[in-house]
Symmetry: C2
Subunit: 480 residues, 2 copies
């Protein structure tokens, strides 16, 4: 990028919001995904919609790329810079603009931290369910761009179920406002739900209207340990079949249990082969009834121990075990590759076995945990990206896992997104007609392919930022 | 359309599935929307995906239009033929292919009647909530194409919340399969949710995967009459503010109450100015607790009478009053224009007043009922389209209503769709950037604009089937 263009960018956002020192570039060269890194040309912190619009128009003129970014907690490389790109950081857009009690809705800026928003909402007696693992760091804009999931997805759904409206700057610099406080709206195409999960490839989100719900009156947290993995999987199936819908049904395998215990020292049994953490919530006696049904199913399936939290502090300890799983695993090795293969719930036991098989066949360590009730697992490979042979083994293990997931009617990503990391698997899942349709839409809206190009898929000859299909060629993407 | 093209169509679907007599054309020239009618060139009943694909490819070659259609119960003209069009009727695709108890999902063909599907699902102990007013006639394909709402929307959401997967023939003849039995899936763009509600403009749906939920264990139905409209509106606001979520909260005004009583003779008080029908459901004691809270709020807001159904038969009578509202009003005049202006819930009382004002100012009779909990009203004008002066008055009343709804942050259509009937209002709501984006996407996917063109919006010079902006010019659209 030449100095003249950089000067124009600086003029748009003002000098104080423009950064391009080597240190700044390094800091914004990666997100939470292993293996992907690239230096941007510059980093900007725009102050208003007009600045973003001007910047996007300039990008079209001067043919540079825009990469929108929140906290960078993404796990598929969605906010990693691409060739010739300017990173647009939205973390300073961190105001909760309105909590509307009458319409159960809230307007927020995209840089609000998910966890901060949840607390603010709960203080008014309302509830915002989506709770991705990174919620204490992630931004709501990032959650919307990636349609973030979380632990409460089974009963309450994911981010898309809570987005009522979006304001954004489109790839041509236009200002789009779509959706609103109406709980039903079928006027025109559903642009809103299409933008949710588009991973920053359709524009820069500047404002979000989120749906809130009444806070559940009471909650019961349960925990079960198992000597056999299969018994935990059968418990999950039986609970779904009993028509009980827990607000949480999380699974941890033996590797994860041990890493969490090393990290937290909360007294988890190191020899347990599996652990389930469950929560039911609601109003009145129905909550206890559901807890009793679940408890019965856990015991019937030979849980070695079933615990019911007797107070909130206890419940929080149990949930902390699950919430720290990723961090606990990440401590164990220089590189942690966390994936999110997802299958129809009925295929969960098979998928669990396939993940064990993938680890064994390729001689790698894979911890497994995840949202069992959603069929959404997080096989996590403990590896070292500096050791190419070791890394190659983990890639082979994940290739096997994703292909098996697709064979089972599953998907390559339940909640992390496609980004750079899953691009090579998408066509196998979406098929050529699906890929064509996605590319047609992207090209129609982003004529010059300047907004986060090369994420999700590549378009035509403009493949900047693409992931080489052969992972051995990945070195161009690396700095270290 | 010349004979040669017709012969080619006949060859594709076979002669027995091809119709083009004047009587056949007449039968398929309209849907449930007042005022719109046009004769197609032919009607076909395709037998498989391949026939549809071939037909679509031929349409691209020979430049004729395809209008997909289910039962034709739509209320915005979405399935009314356009110029030079072939109606593709999907009602014979009426098989429930699978009810998957383990994954709480069902594969259906698009021609399955909504009500038939609900019964089949409930027989297995599961539940499919979307219940549009026309559910005993409407098809699931039509429901998906229009993102149909219904009485249970407040608690359970609308059709889009239950679509897990779609198979369809795209405008280029390709076969698209998107979504699946995974409860979480963020691989690539969210094509599925974009197709839901696209009103048959993006292809012909051939198979649908629907999400099911456990059937609520118990239900309580309540009813309240009011001497003043405003007290009913305040009851609705107070119930939402009390963080209770009824599974149904329906409103009928005095005009509608009287029409329903004329029709059903179930003993509704003719002097009541408003009536609310409410339902709560769930498990355990929470249901009764919610019913008690609601009952208290209804009484506090001066309901002249509050009734609680003591058995299912009684509950059904109460709900029948609501479900027959449209039919009861339709009996009263040669033409019934049923609309679905929707506002944020907090604006419901204002919108109710505006509807009364619209009727008074324009000297027309407008009955009002609808999904009060969703802010989704159905102002229904009793008129006669043969009397042009009378019709013009009703158009002026609705213009006023839609503009007021937009001013209140509302939308022009909560559940009926844009089709032909709301086209002229869409830009006022979606703005030029939104309209541009919709048209860009349609043009990218349907290059020759042959799939249900002129619905939702017009594209470029190809305005066949468009609604003249000035309703006085509407006569070209009419046969009678």
């Amino acid at each position: 990028m030449n100095t003249q263009v950089k000067e124009k960018i600086k003029e748009i956002v003002s000098g104080k919001n423009y950064f391009d020192s080597p240190e700044d570039k390094l800091v914004y060269s990666y997100d939470a995904t292993a293996e992907f890194q690239k230096l941007p040309e510059a980093i900007v912190f725009p102050e208003d919609e007009e600045q973003i619009s001007k910047l996007v128009k300039l990008a079209n003129q001067e043919k540079f790329n825009i990469v929108p970014r929140g906290s960078g907690t993404g796990l598929s490389g969605g906010s990693v810079p691409v060739d010739n790109s300017v990173v647009v950081v939205m973390t300073r857009w961190n105001k909760i603009l309105e909590i509307d009690q009458n319409n159960l809705a809230a307007w927020v800026q995209p840089g609000v931290i998910t966890g901060d928003f949840q607390l603010a909402v709960e203080n008014t007696g309302l509830f915002y369910p989506p709770d991705p693992g990174s919620m204490n760091v992630s931004t709501l804009g990032g959650n919307v761009a990636n349609n973030a999931g979380g632990l409460r997805g089974l009963k309450y759904g994911v981010t898309k179920n809570y987005v009522m409206g979006i304001e954004m700057i489109l790839p041509n610099g236009d200002f789009l406002k779509t959706g609103g406080k109406n709980v039903k709206d079928v006027a025109g195409y559903n642009l809103k739900d299409f933008i949710v999960g588009s991973e920053g490839t359709l524009g820069v989100i500047t404002k979000i209207l989120l749906k809130l719900i009444p806070k559940p009156a009471s909650t019961i947290t349960l925990l079960a340990y198992y000597d056999r993995l299969i018994d935990s999987a059968q418990s999950v199936s039986d609970i779904i079949a009993a028509h009980v819908t827990p607000s949480m049904m999380e699974f941890l395998d033996n590797t994860t249990i041990n890493c969490v215990e090393d990290y937290t020292h909360i007294g988890l049994p190191r020899n347990a082969q599996a652990m389930l953490i469950l929560e039911v919530d609601g109003k009145g006696s129905g909550v206890q009834e559901e807890a009793d049904i679940i408890s019965g199913i856990l015991k019937k399936n030979k849980a070695s121990e079933v615990k019911v939290a007797t107070n909130e502090a206890q419940a929080n300890i149990l949930k902390t075990a699950r919430r720290t799983a990723f961090s606990a695993l990440a401590r164990k090795s220089p590189t942690t590759i966390l994936e999110d293969a997802t299958v129809p719930r009925s295929e969960l036991p098979v998928m669990m076995e396939k993940i064990i098989e993938a680890a064994r066949k390729n001689d790698v360590v894979i911890g497994n945990f995840g949202h069992a009730g959603d069929g959404n697992l997080h096989p996590t490979c403990l590896t070292d990206e500096r050791d190419k042979a070791e890394l190659e083994k983990s890639h082979r293990a994940f290739d096997f896992i994703f292909n098996e997931a697709i064979k089972l009617g599953g998907t390559i990503t339940g909640e992390h997104g496609t980004g750079l990391g899953k691009k090579q698997f998408l066509e196998g899942l979406a098929g050529i007609p699906g890929m064509t349709m996605m590319k047609q839409i992207k090209s129609a809206i982003d004529e010059n392919n300047i907004i986060n190009p090369g994420k999700i898929f590549d378009i035509g000859p403009k493949c900047e930022g693409s992931l080489p299909r052969n992972r051995n060629q990945i070195k161009d993407f690396h700095m270290h």
